[in-house]
Symmetry: C3
Subunit: 353 residues, 3 copies
């Protein structure tokens, strides 16, 4: 499906310079965009590429337009934040092209008679809704997903195929949960009785706010006695592990393969890099950025970026530096010995002079 | 549901001081517990909080009771290991509140006619039991789980929703397997034929002992020619990868996101921290503790704690230390040069004196 | 089922020395093989074990046969690459012992009327095939797997149970996808609008070549605007994350728990170790080997092995070396001070002499 450029600007705002009637079929990157697509410029270093783009129209800042506008042949949309404008444009086309999902429960789905499924919700093939679950308006439950007892899912939330939600967990409105995600499995809680592990039943829940996105195969454990909480607007990539009783502040983004250990508290507007690991029972304040591959062992109480991973090198060079890292105490001893010798030498030399 | 405090002590032992008839509805942490809940004190540093707890009763050691007992207003249960006693109390309430699961096979489940399912077992909606599988007494198979050909599952084992067990694997009694776990997928075995990888069929099984717990989205690969073995009482958190032909000793606990490479042998009573990685074909003896985020490259033949991750720092500080780590050989050369110069100087100074 | 040794050599080649009519029931490692099994020797250091093996026959190189052949009592198959020959032998037996899978769609599976499923394909119990999907000849779709709208799956590809393929993705021929794998979930793409994250719809696909193997619970995200590409012969272990718009070159092997961030381009014939992490938007050329637990932050433009992880040590030793790593700038300052002092001393000593 296509639109006129005018429709886009009428809907999203911004200042249009050029032909408002151009027919647009979609979006594309600067280099790939064709004469029927919209593109965007958000990084000034691609200005020259922008002037040469074949795109029908370009979204850019007023600042970049001063340079690009002179030589670019297509229409321009001036926006205060071109990347955000591009994201909304992409959403506009995605909505246009989305397959229509009819409301209703697929005949192969199994819905417990005590569950409440809104008339406008969709429940896919072979999905299972257990007793007492409440499925809100416009919710989409993908094929093969299993919604546990007494789960609540807010309006317009989209669960892809093969998602699992354990009993009593709650998900807000407009959330997106990708396939293979498991919400509400037992936290890892055991008491050690002479070497053997005695399970501590995990009776807390997982509470997930509005507008949260949860990636494929990500796991969020239920709390031990109280709840695990994911605040509104949090974005979780794939294969993340969030342990019991964690609290993730609003609008924090966590990249793939990260792990958050039990009872860790992460503030709002943080970012956690891929494969970063956050230790249990620590606090990270708002606006902290933990780099990829970094293990945060202690609380971080000051905003900023924090990093800690071993620098990559050719294997032979790494072997040398790793051996020296192991022996840094020897290095320190050598330096101390040198300092002592030099002190003695200096004294001696002074005496002699 | 509620109980009298007496019922708890009658069932679990310990010395009760105070009103045996108090009505108890559940458990809660020291600070959150209300007058109808039991709490516990396992760490002496929370003694003052314990004296102020609103809980109806507290589980604590005789040693802590000497201090806490004087001012705490509720009932006290003296136990030799309060944390274990608390775990058993939590299990007591969990059993009380557990929804009753009727035995039987849900009409939407698909059970092969050659599979044997105990009369007392439960098979959930849209679950699949393939040919020749044997499902023991009181086993719970969650909705959407797929049990492969000739799998054996021991009595009272609980598989949550959307678990996958490949053909011929065996799980012991009273095990718990969380959603998304995959037991028995092919190990990663290939022979390299001039750059191309030739698959080595993986014909071993996975053998899992009694009382093992396996976390959400954890994967345990089948052996190449012989079996992958998880001994009794092992506890595996979420998103752990255990490769083909590993052997994990009894009562070892492994935290989330850890990876155990092929043919590694880990002893009994070990603990492996979150995101730790154990190299292939190495041996780790009993009672070894590998810290989070640590890569164990060689065998560990002596009990103790082992660690190896780069310390986190503000990004700028990390950049400096990382650059220096890369150049440690230069540092070593400088020290050697200094040592040489000083030796010469010392000799010269001695000559002069 | 069993075969005569002759049948194996007729099928796979190699030079047979000994009784061609021995009956063989399977394969086994050197130490475990019995008189009805074939074994192999690929590492010369096991020559002595080879001479003592009970195996009916051994696969080995001409070079090793000079030593082993003299004293080993069974039949020998001389092969140029014994490990590859062993892999093919294992495949030979696996094919012999594989349960016969009848073609057809299980009555409990849900196949959209607009999907095309080849007559020779198999669709397992409670699997779901959505609108417009095309399932090729001899394809196996495991129980509970969900194949999205307009997905294409090439001939002879095998999807195990509980696999999820999102809409529009394509998989080549003879691929193997293990349980819990999720192909085509949304990439992690958001624009930041004053602290809140605005989703960028992910409209690219995942394109997977022929002969690719994908491990259990591995996730491969669809591209943002263009496609994520996995070339032919790539082998992916379990729990790997491949982000949007990555490109993985042919015959590259990636071990478990590795993560490849967005738009990374990895060459052909590479190997990426377990839990290694590849940064976004970097390029790794052909024939690069990244060690386990290593984070590759920048492009690698020269073949070779690259490593970077902190060496494991006893915890107390690590604490010391980690403290020193944090303070390497202090070490450098001390060395500079020493250098300066020594320079002054040297000058002074020269003056005095």
């Amino acid at each position: 499906m296509s639109i006129r450029l005018k429709q886009l600007v009428d809907s999203l705002g911004g200042q249009l310079i050029g032909d408002a009637d151009i027919e647009i079929f979609g979006i594309a990157p600067l280099n790939d965009a064709t004469v029927t697509e919209v593109t965007f410029l958000s990084n000034p270093k691609f200005r020259i590429q922008a002037t040469q783009s074949q795109a029908a129209a370009i979204i850019l800042s007023a600042e970049d337009d001063v340079i690009v506008g002179a030589s670019y042949r297509g229409a321009r949309i001036i926006a205060s934040n071109p990347y955000v404008y591009f994201a909304r444009t992409a959403q506009f086309f995605a909505a246009l092209n989305a397959p229509v999902v009819p409301a209703g429960v697929h005949p192969s789905a199994v819905v417990d008679c005590s569950a409440q499924v809104a008339m406008t919700a969709f429940v896919g093939a072979n999905a299972v809704i257990e007793a007492g679950a409440i499925i809100g308006d416009g919710v989409y439950i993908g094929s093969g997903s299993v919604i546990g007892r007494a789960v609540k899912i807010g309006a317009m939330t989209h669960l892809h195929a093969n998602v699992t939600i354990y009993a009593e967990c709650e998900i807000g409105r407009r959330a997106i949960v990708h396939s293979g995600a498991v919400i509400g499995a037992d936290g890892f809680g055991f008491a050690n009785d002479g070497g053997k592990w005695i399970k501590i039943p995990q009776i807390g829940r997982v509470l997930i706010g509005d507008d949260v996105e949860i990636g494929a195969n990500t796991t969020i454990d239920r709390g031990a006695m109280t709840d695990t909480v994911i605040e509104e607007g949090v974005k979780l990539d794939n294969q993340i592990q969030i342990a019991h009783n964690c609290h993730i502040g609003a609008h924090t983004a966590i990249a793939a393969c990260a792990g958050i250990a039990g009872s860790a508290k992460i503030g709002k507007y943080c970012s956690i890099g891929g494969a970063a690991m956050i230790h249990g029972h620590i606090t990270i304040v708002d606006h902290v950025h933990v780099s990829a591959g970094t293990l945060a062992l202690r609380s971080i109480l000051e905003p900023g970026q924090y990093t800690g991973f071993y620098p990559i090198a050719k294997h032979g060079d790494w072997e040398k530096s790793a051996a020296l890292v192991r022996n840094l105490s020897t290095t320190r001893e050598k330096i101390r010995a040198l300092e002592k010798t030099i002190k003695q030498l200096t004294e001696k030399t002074h005496e002699q002079s």
